[in-house]
């Protein structure tokens, strides 16, 4: 009872002090001589309402990109992670190839890869190879983020104590069965938070493909900006990205905290 009351009091104090600080900040910024200029260039009400529908429309391209990419990345990243944890000497080439792949795509700047694959490959005019910018944007994002995600999977698999695999093998499960029924189910639970983190990165990086001429939200905002010499459409784009990424960030934090709690509570 008293605990609840003091918690409520705490919330009240927090709300009031935040309001006071925010008001003071708003007044001091608003009363500064250059504020009208800033407001006109970045936060113009008219440009805001006219550009919002356009930018939201273009954001559909970003959503298509990251949803398709995520669907492809989940299995591809897992396959790469499994290829990297192969121990059999006969399959060593597969492991080496997977290692080179992850090193390369994690080590080269994304924008460079998008540029080279998006402009370079279609320029070869290979028969049967699509040349649409959207296709190459998707391919590049999948290649880059599968490399990141495979490392997340691998860390998850390696975090499962070897006694688990040994216990499964002792029961007569094959190495594959031990992986499939014992190691992976436990590993996948642990990788959800870092996986979502990578997906937040991917969602932001969909803006990079604007360099290929794909008219997604950022490109659309740039077009509107140039037409009116006003930055407000870019602020609108930022806002739309935040609407997607902030809830996801909070979800990741919550899941990670829950994970820590169960790991402390459980026996292993």
């Amino acid at each position: 009872m008293t605990a609840a009351r003091s918690a409520r009091k705490g919330t009240l104090v927090a709300v009031i002090s935040t309001l006071v600080v925010a008001t003071l900040l708003a007044i001091s910024i608003g009363s500064s001589p250059s504020w009208p200029l800033v407001q006109k260039a970045f936060f113009d009400g008219t440009y805001f309402s006219t550009s919002l529908p356009n930018v939201i429309g273009a954001f559909a391209i970003n959503i298509q990109l990251f949803v398709l990419a995520e669907i492809l990345i989940l299995p591809i990243g897992l396959l790469v992670a499994l290829a990297r944890s192969i121990t059999s000497p006969a399959l060593a080439p597969l492991r080496i190839f997977a290692t080179i792949y992850t090193d390369f795509f994690r080590g080269v700047p994304s924008i460079l890869l998008i540029y080279v694959l998006g402009f370079g490959v279609p320029a070869l005019r290979l028969p049967g190879v699509p040349s649409e910018p959207f296709f190459w944007a998707l391919v590049t994002l999948v290649l880059i983020y599968s490399a990141y995600v495979s490392e997340v999977y691998r860390a998850g698999i390696e975090s499962i104590h070897p006694s688990q695999e040994r216990a499964a093998r002792a029961l007569g499960l094959t190495r594959f069965q031990a992986l499939r029924y014992v190691v992976l189910p436990q590993a996948l639970r642990r990788v959800v938070p870092p996986l979502l983190n990578d997906f937040i990165g991917l969602q932001k990086d969909t803006a990079l493909v604007s360099i290929l001429g794909v008219v997604e939200a950022f490109k659309q905002a740039q077009i509107l900006k140039s037409a009116n010499f006003n930055f407000t459409p870019l602020m609108v784009t930022a806002l739309i990205f935040l609407v997607i990424t902030i809830p996801m960030t909070r979800l990741v934090d919550r899941l990670a905290a829950k994970d820590r709690a169960t790991q402390q509570g459980g026996t292993r």
């Binding site: 040994r166 216990a167 029961l171 499960l173 069965q177 014992v182 026996t267």
Partner: protein
């Protein structure tokens, strides 16, 4: 299946080790071990820490390759490097000192996993078998509990049920009570006694001398990777012949088994 609890007839050997040696790096951990388990026989391995008991069990379960000698199961030579080593492991059950239950599965799922996946039983048949085993080990009420909500003794009994679920010919047990509170030890030992009465062939590494004396048909004393002396519990505990066995038992009796762990 149920056999008399009294002396068992000398039956055909099920599991045999012939001159088995094992090295870790330069250290010779098992030195030409000869050991034969007859059907329904219970053999206890005793010996100080580091004498090679766990290594012997892991090698016998084909979890570790051996560096010399051979192992036969029902007269057939088996090896960890065989293509069908997984199939052989299904005929051998092993329970480790740590619980290593699968934490993402319930007690029932832990036990049913190997019958379903490794033996290819239907889900219903595997579950039926798992329920029967849990009941046999006094855990019927805990079927849907996850390992972290079970006591150490209960977890260890689930591990025994899991090892029995592939209907192994031999059950290998590695100091399965050493991580438990004394109160919980009794339950687990009782479960093993019941299995021995039921005719299960078992090879048990243990520090519980009283239990070994009670349940074993034969005791093997290990030192430095060799079986120094083997014989009936009466012989080993009553009139050990080898001076090393005598010294070990004297130490056990003076300091109590716990100090040897």
């Amino acid at each position: 299946m149920a056999r008399k609890a009294t002396k068992r007839v000398a039956a055909a050997p099920v599991l045999e080790l012939h001159g088995v040696s094992k090295r870790y790096g330069r250290a010779l951990v098992l030195d030409k071990i000869d050991l034969s388990l007859a059907e329904h026989e219970v053999v206890c391995l005793i010996g100080a820490s580091g004498s090679g008991k766990s290594t012997l069990l892991r090698c016998a379960d084909l979890l570790e390759p051996i560096d010399g000698g051979s192992i036969t199961l029902d007269g057939r030579t088996v090896s960890a490097d065989d293509r069908d080593a997984d199939a052989t492991r299904r005929q051998l059950g092993i329970v480790f000192q740590g619980f290593s239950l699968f934490p993402h599965l319930t007690a029932l799922e832990n036990v049913a996993l190997a019958p379903r996946v490794a033996l290819g039983l239907t889900a219903a048949a595997a579950e039926k078998r798992a329920r029967a085993l849990l009941k046999q080990l006094g855990l019927a009420a805990k079927a849907n509990a996850y390992p972290d909500s079970l006591s150490g003794g209960q977890q260890q009994r689930v591990a025994i049920a899991r090892a029995l679920a592939t209907e192994p010919k031999v059950l290998l047990l590695d100091e399965i009570t050493s991580a438990l509170d004394p109160v919980l030890v009794a339950d687990v030992l009782e479960a093993l006694r019941a299995l021995a009465k039921g005719g299960m062939t078992m090879l048990i590494a243990t520090h519980e001398m009283a239990f070994a004396a009670d349940v074993a048909d034969r005791i093997c004393y290990l030192e430095g990777g060799r079986i120094v002396e083997a014989g009936s519990p009466e012989k080993i505990f009553g009139a050990p012949r080898d001076p090393r066995t005598r010294a070990f038992l004297k130490r056990v009796r003076s300091v109590g088994a716990s100090a040897l762990r």
